[in-house]
């Protein structure tokens, strides 16, 4: 009974798995589902690099037990693009040169995704606050904030057209 039976939807696909009870959501994503876009780093929820979206909210997947995700929906960075078309956040990160070493970027983009879903037209200050829990040691954040601001404009324009 130390394994848990999990029914988990990741990027729209339903998975039924049996995993050890101490596995984190991060362990399941990377080791069981081989979705290695989500990165492993501090394992203390301090750095935000492992951020994914769980039922619409950003969470540090290293701190959440997989067993607590029973029946829930997860979106990882792999779930953003539609076919070959990148998500507006991904496009903006490329365009603004917001990526240097790249290691924090999946977590950064998922943090921004959950934030923009709730706050479609944020101020720069609000964006900075939103990514306070997601650390980048390369860029100094300017270009990351630029990219998130640009993406928010595009997303809300798309929203108006739709």
């Amino acid at each position: 009974m130390t394994e848990v039976q999990l029914d988990l939807t990741v990027n729209g696909r339903r998975h039924r798995l049996s995993v050890p009870a101490h596995y984190s959501l991060l362990d399941v994503l990377r080791d069981e589902l081989e979705l290695t876009g989500t990165k492993t780093n501090c394992l203390e929820a301090e750095c935000g690099v492992c951020t994914v979206v769980l039922d619409g909210k950003s969470v540090a997947s290293c701190a959440v037990l997989a067993a607590q995700c029973q029946g829930r929906e997860v979106t990882t960075v792999e779930g953003l693009a539609e076919g070959a078309a990148l998500h507006p956040l991904q496009e903006a990160f490329v365009e603004f040169g917001a990526v240097q070493c790249g290691y924090c970027i999946p977590g950064m983009i998922m943090t921004a995704k959950a934030f923009l879903d709730e706050n479609p037209r944020p101020t720069r200050e609000a964006v900075r606050e939103a990514i306070a829990g997601t650390l980048c040691r390369c860029t100094g954040y300017q270009k990351i904030v630029d990219a998130i601001m640009a993406a928010s404009q595009r997303l809300s324009q798309q929203g108006e057209r739709a």
Partner: protein, 295 residues
């Protein structure tokens, strides 16, 4: 490692499971303290009992003066709670500095109180509001003042089979305002080296009354600064009064030296934050819309 994961659907089942397992089992809410401590120390409990599927523990209830926070209410919920905008702003200010969005989206107020870190940021303001916590266990239900619930670093009055169900408080009856400030080495993602919460009211003749101040991270547990509160009762705010406030608050601190700050710096900050919190909440009084006497 043979961790077992138990998923009760009712409060009663959670209590029964905890009673049957004894000390080897721990409740888990958001897991932001439990999972990370277990992984870091390499020692997991034999079982964790998930509280997240128990109905009714995740709501903020109340209006006007009387409120209750379900133990599974997240810091994110508190930070965004419209009913706490204005006079009870310090609740939102305390919640919104706990980790980043990723932590606040899952970490709960019940977990913050039960974990009983001396630096737990929700404790000072809840002490100011004379909060009481409700516990449900195999011996029944009881209500304990938060001030006596937390006994020391990571030590509480909770028996191992007791689930904290809610945290209840009443706001002051007269017009009041509140404030919370915390000091760390940087502005985000920082464990408090001193945390200060205050609730103040002002009498008709413009004097401070019913002042409540509580300080966290500057001793083994967060405490009300009763000496400072007594001193401020009936005073008008002035430079001298603020100075004495700082002196008394620093004297009440019993801080430790650790990697985050020296004891003497913590003591200094205790004085500074006590002054600022009193001044800030006094200034806010004119802005808050809770003047029942004027209605």
């Amino acid at each position: 490692m043979k961790l077992e994961f138990l998923a009760p659907q009712t409060l009663q089942d959670a209590v029964t499971m905890a009673k049957a397992r004894g000390d080897a089992a721990r409740f888990i809410a958001g897991g932001t303290d439990l999972v990370i401590q277990a992984r870091k120390s390499g020692t997991w409990p034999e079982a964790v009992i998930n509280l997240q599927q128990i109905p009714d523990l995740g709501e903020i209830k109340g209006s006007g003066q009387n409120f209750s926070l379900g133990s599974l209410v997240t810091h994110r919920q508190i930070e965004r709670e419209g009913r706490f905008a204005g006079a009870l702003e310090a609740l939102r200010e305390s919640a919104c500095v706990i980790g980043g969005h990723q932590v606040r989206n899952v970490a709960t107020v019940g977990g913050n109180l039960c974990n009983a870190s001396p630096a737990a940021d929700m404790v000072p303001i809840l002490l100011c509001l004379n909060a009481e916590v409700a516990l449900a266990g195999s011996e029944g239900r009881r209500v304990v003042p938060l001030a006596s619930f937390i006994e020391g670093p990571r030590k509480t009055k909770r028996a191992h089979d007791e689930v904290m169900t809610e945290i209840a408080f009443s706001a002051p009856a007269q017009k009041f305002a509140s404030a919370f400030l915390k000091g760390g080495r940087r502005r985000a993602m920082e464990i408090s080296i001193v945390a200060m919460a205050g609730v103040v009211s002002v009498s008709r003749d413009g004097k401070l009354t019913d002042v409540r101040l509580a300080m966290g991270a500057a001793g083994p547990k967060a405490i009300r600064l009763t000496e400072v509160e007594k001193f401020l009762e009936g005073k008008a705010l002035s430079k001298d009064v603020l100075e004495e406030t700082g002196r008394l608050a620093a004297a009440a601190a019993s801080p430790i030296d650790d990697v985050r700050a020296s004891a003497s710096f913590r003591r200094h900050l205790a004085g500074v934050y006590a002054r600022r919190v009193v001044e800030l909440s006094w200034n806010r009084i004119s802005e808050v819309g809770n003047d029942r006497s004027a209605a």
